[in-house]
Protein backbone atom coordinates (compact mmCIF):
# COMPACT_ATOMS: atom_id res chain seq x y z
CA UNK A 1 0.00 0.00 0.00
CA UNK A 2 0.99 3.64 -0.34
CA UNK A 3 0.91 6.36 2.28
CA UNK A 4 -0.25 9.68 0.90
CA UNK A 5 0.09 12.98 2.70
CA UNK A 6 -2.05 15.82 1.48
CA UNK A 7 -2.06 19.40 2.67
CA UNK A 8 -3.68 21.59 3.62
CA UNK A 9 -6.39 19.42 5.13
CA UNK A 10 -8.84 22.29 4.90
CA UNK A 11 -8.95 25.95 3.97
CA UNK A 12 -11.38 28.81 3.65
CA UNK A 13 -10.56 31.10 0.74
CA UNK A 14 -11.85 34.32 -0.73
CA UNK A 15 -13.36 34.20 -4.19
CA UNK A 16 -10.99 35.22 -6.93
CA UNK A 17 -7.93 33.84 -5.15
CA UNK A 18 -6.02 30.61 -5.82
CA UNK A 19 -5.10 27.68 -3.59
CA UNK A 20 -2.37 25.12 -4.18
CA UNK A 21 -2.85 21.65 -2.73
CA UNK A 22 0.17 19.43 -2.19
CA UNK A 23 0.33 15.64 -2.37
CA UNK A 24 3.32 13.62 -1.17
CA UNK A 25 3.62 9.85 -1.59
CA UNK A 26 5.96 7.61 0.39
CA UNK A 27 7.06 5.69 -2.72
CA UNK A 28 7.73 6.41 -6.36
CA UNK A 29 4.68 6.16 -8.57
CA UNK A 30 4.22 6.73 -12.27
CA UNK A 31 0.73 8.19 -12.18
CA UNK A 32 -0.96 10.39 -9.64
CA UNK A 33 -4.62 11.32 -9.85
CA UNK A 34 -6.61 14.30 -8.66
CA UNK A 35 -10.30 13.95 -7.80
CA UNK A 36 -13.03 16.30 -6.71
CA UNK A 37 -15.80 15.22 -4.37
CA UNK A 38 -18.66 17.67 -4.14
CA UNK A 39 -21.02 17.46 -1.19
CA UNK A 40 -23.18 14.36 -1.35
CA UNK A 41 -21.76 13.34 -4.71
CA UNK A 42 -19.38 10.78 -6.07
CA UNK A 43 -15.71 11.30 -6.81
CA UNK A 44 -14.97 12.88 -10.18
CA UNK A 45 -11.56 12.58 -11.78
CA UNK A 46 -10.05 15.96 -12.59
CA UNK A 47 -6.78 14.90 -14.19
CA UNK A 48 -3.98 12.36 -14.32
CA UNK A 49 -0.49 13.64 -13.57
CA UNK A 50 2.50 11.82 -15.05
CA UNK A 51 6.02 12.83 -14.18
CA UNK A 52 7.78 14.50 -17.08
CA UNK A 53 4.71 15.26 -19.17
CA UNK A 54 1.64 17.48 -19.19
CA UNK A 55 -1.27 16.37 -17.08
CA UNK A 56 -4.21 14.78 -18.85
CA UNK A 57 -7.50 16.48 -18.03
CA UNK A 58 -10.95 14.95 -18.03
CA UNK A 59 -13.88 16.47 -19.83
CA UNK A 60 -15.08 19.58 -18.06
CA UNK A 61 -11.73 20.41 -16.46
CA UNK A 62 -9.11 22.70 -17.99
CA UNK A 63 -5.50 23.47 -17.24
CA UNK A 64 -6.08 27.20 -16.77
CA UNK A 65 -8.49 26.51 -13.92
CA UNK A 66 -6.69 23.50 -12.39
CA UNK A 67 -2.98 23.70 -13.21
CA UNK A 68 -1.04 20.65 -12.03
CA UNK A 69 2.64 20.16 -11.38
CA UNK A 70 4.46 16.83 -11.16
CA UNK A 71 8.14 17.62 -10.55
CA UNK A 72 9.14 14.10 -9.46
CA UNK A 73 7.81 10.60 -8.85
CA UNK A 74 6.63 11.25 -5.28
CA UNK A 75 5.05 14.69 -5.41
CA UNK A 76 2.31 16.64 -7.17
CA UNK A 77 0.38 19.84 -6.71
CA UNK A 78 -3.07 20.91 -7.84
CA UNK A 79 -3.96 24.59 -7.96
CA UNK A 80 -7.54 25.77 -7.92
CA UNK A 81 -7.40 29.13 -9.66
CA UNK A 82 -9.66 32.17 -9.56
CA UNK A 83 -11.94 30.42 -7.11
CA UNK A 84 -15.67 30.82 -6.87
CA UNK A 85 -18.11 29.33 -4.35
CA UNK A 86 -18.85 26.54 -6.88
CA UNK A 87 -15.30 25.30 -6.30
CA UNK A 88 -16.13 24.48 -2.69
CA UNK A 89 -15.47 20.77 -2.50
CA UNK A 90 -13.13 18.09 -1.23
CA UNK A 91 -10.10 17.56 -3.41
CA UNK A 92 -8.38 14.18 -3.23
CA UNK A 93 -5.02 12.93 -4.42
CA UNK A 94 -4.77 9.26 -5.36
CA UNK A 95 -2.22 6.70 -6.52
CA UNK A 96 -2.45 3.08 -7.56
CA UNK A 97 -1.14 0.35 -5.31
CA UNK A 98 0.77 -1.29 -8.13
CA UNK A 99 1.88 0.10 -11.41
CA UNK A 100 -0.05 -2.49 -13.40
CA UNK A 101 -3.62 -2.82 -14.50
CA UNK A 102 -6.55 -3.70 -12.28
CA UNK A 103 -5.26 -2.19 -9.10
CA UNK A 104 -6.95 -0.58 -6.20
CA UNK A 105 -6.39 3.11 -5.55
CA UNK A 106 -5.08 4.73 -2.40
CA UNK A 107 -6.18 8.17 -1.37
CA UNK A 108 -4.89 11.06 0.66
CA UNK A 109 -7.08 12.37 3.44
CA UNK A 110 -8.40 15.11 1.18
CA UNK A 111 -8.47 18.89 1.24
CA UNK A 112 -11.77 20.44 2.22
CA UNK A 113 -12.03 23.76 0.41
CA UNK A 114 -14.63 26.39 1.20
CA UNK A 115 -14.80 29.48 -0.99
CA UNK A 116 -16.57 32.50 0.44
Amino acid sequence: SAVISQKPSRDICQRGTSLTIQCQVDSQVTMMFWYRQQPGQSLTLIATANQGSEATYESGFVIDKFPISRPNLTFSTLTVSNMSPEDSSIYLCSVEGRQTHNTEAFFGQGTRLTVV
Binding site: G40, L43, L45, T56, N102, E104, A105, F107, Q109, G110
Partner: protein
Amino acid sequence: EDQVTQSPEALRLQEGESSSLNCSYTVSGLRGLFWYRQDPGKGPEFLFTLYSAGEEKEKERLKATLTKKESFLHITAPKPEDSATYLCAVDVRRWNNDMRFGAGTRLTVKP
Protein backbone atom coordinates in the same frame (compact mmCIF):
# COMPACT_ATOMS: atom_id res chain seq x y z
CA GLU B 1 -22.40 5.67 -21.17
CA ASP B 2 -20.70 4.07 -18.18
CA GLN B 3 -22.77 4.41 -15.02
CA VAL B 4 -22.47 3.28 -11.44
CA THR B 5 -25.50 3.48 -9.18
CA GLN B 6 -25.48 2.76 -5.47
CA SER B 7 -28.50 2.08 -3.32
CA PRO B 8 -29.79 2.92 -0.89
CA GLU B 9 -28.46 6.45 -0.58
CA ALA B 10 -28.59 6.15 3.20
CA LEU B 11 -29.16 3.20 5.53
CA ARG B 12 -29.76 3.20 9.25
CA LEU B 13 -29.35 -0.08 11.12
CA GLN B 14 -29.48 -1.19 14.69
CA GLU B 15 -26.36 -2.82 16.01
CA GLY B 16 -26.48 -6.51 15.02
CA GLU B 17 -29.01 -5.95 12.22
CA SER B 18 -27.49 -7.42 9.05
CA SER B 19 -28.15 -5.87 5.65
CA SER B 20 -26.73 -5.35 2.16
CA LEU B 21 -25.63 -2.41 0.06
CA ASN B 22 -26.05 -2.53 -3.69
CA CYS B 23 -23.86 -1.28 -6.53
CA SER B 24 -25.24 -1.70 -10.02
CA TYR B 25 -23.22 -0.82 -13.08
CA THR B 26 -23.58 -0.48 -16.80
CA VAL B 27 -20.14 -0.37 -18.31
CA SER B 28 -18.42 -1.87 -21.28
CA GLY B 29 -15.22 -3.67 -20.56
CA LEU B 30 -15.28 -3.96 -16.78
CA ARG B 31 -11.77 -4.58 -15.50
CA GLY B 32 -12.49 -4.55 -11.82
CA LEU B 33 -14.98 -3.42 -9.20
CA PHE B 34 -13.80 -1.81 -5.98
CA TRP B 35 -15.37 -1.11 -2.62
CA TYR B 36 -14.11 1.69 -0.40
CA ARG B 37 -15.03 2.99 3.00
CA GLN B 38 -14.94 6.72 3.65
CA ASP B 39 -15.13 8.26 7.09
CA PRO B 40 -16.03 11.95 7.49
CA GLY B 41 -13.08 14.22 6.78
CA LYS B 42 -10.96 11.40 5.37
CA GLY B 43 -10.10 9.97 2.02
CA PRO B 44 -11.59 6.66 0.84
CA GLU B 45 -10.02 3.54 2.32
CA PHE B 46 -9.73 0.48 0.10
CA LEU B 47 -11.75 -2.58 1.12
CA PHE B 48 -12.08 -5.06 -1.76
CA THR B 49 -11.45 -5.67 -5.43
CA LEU B 50 -13.62 -8.07 -7.43
CA TYR B 51 -12.73 -9.05 -10.97
CA SER B 52 -15.20 -11.64 -12.21
CA ALA B 53 -18.81 -12.69 -11.72
CA GLY B 54 -19.19 -15.15 -8.89
CA GLU B 55 -16.20 -13.85 -6.99
CA GLU B 56 -16.54 -13.15 -3.25
CA LYS B 57 -14.25 -11.45 -0.76
CA GLU B 58 -14.59 -11.20 3.02
CA LYS B 59 -13.12 -9.01 5.70
CA GLU B 60 -14.41 -9.17 9.26
CA ARG B 61 -18.13 -8.33 9.11
CA LEU B 62 -18.05 -7.39 5.43
CA LYS B 63 -18.51 -9.61 2.41
CA ALA B 64 -18.51 -8.41 -1.18
CA THR B 65 -20.01 -10.32 -4.08
CA LEU B 66 -20.12 -9.67 -7.80
CA THR B 67 -22.47 -10.58 -10.64
CA LYS B 68 -22.41 -9.43 -14.24
CA LYS B 69 -24.55 -6.40 -13.45
CA GLU B 70 -24.12 -5.62 -9.78
CA SER B 71 -22.19 -6.05 -6.60
CA PHE B 72 -23.38 -6.38 -3.05
CA LEU B 73 -21.64 -5.45 0.15
CA HIS B 74 -23.13 -7.59 2.90
CA ILE B 75 -22.73 -6.40 6.46
CA THR B 76 -23.25 -9.06 9.09
CA ALA B 77 -24.07 -8.05 12.67
CA PRO B 78 -22.79 -4.50 12.20
CA LYS B 79 -21.33 -2.41 14.98
CA PRO B 80 -21.44 1.36 15.44
CA GLU B 81 -17.84 1.60 14.22
CA ASP B 82 -19.02 0.33 10.83
CA SER B 83 -20.82 3.65 10.35
CA ALA B 84 -19.31 5.33 7.26
CA THR B 85 -20.00 6.03 3.62
CA TYR B 86 -19.32 3.03 1.40
CA LEU B 87 -18.24 3.78 -2.14
CA CYS B 88 -18.30 1.51 -5.14
CA ALA B 89 -16.09 2.11 -8.17
CA VAL B 90 -15.59 0.33 -11.47
CA ASP B 91 -12.44 0.33 -13.52
CA VAL B 92 -13.15 0.54 -17.22
CA ARG B 93 -9.52 1.37 -17.96
CA ARG B 94 -9.49 2.69 -21.45
CA TRP B 95 -6.63 5.03 -20.79
CA ASN B 96 -4.42 5.66 -17.81
CA ASN B 97 -7.19 5.64 -15.25
CA ASP B 98 -10.83 5.28 -15.93
CA MET B 99 -12.50 4.78 -12.60
CA ARG B 100 -16.18 5.53 -12.24
CA PHE B 101 -17.43 6.05 -8.71
CA GLY B 102 -20.92 5.68 -7.36
CA ALA B 103 -22.35 8.37 -5.09
CA GLY B 104 -22.02 6.10 -2.07
CA THR B 105 -24.25 4.69 0.64
CA ARG B 106 -24.13 6.46 3.98
CA LEU B 107 -24.44 3.79 6.67
CA THR B 108 -25.33 4.59 10.26
CA VAL B 109 -25.31 1.83 12.86
CA LYS B 110 -27.00 2.74 16.13
CA PRO B 111 -26.07 1.00 19.39
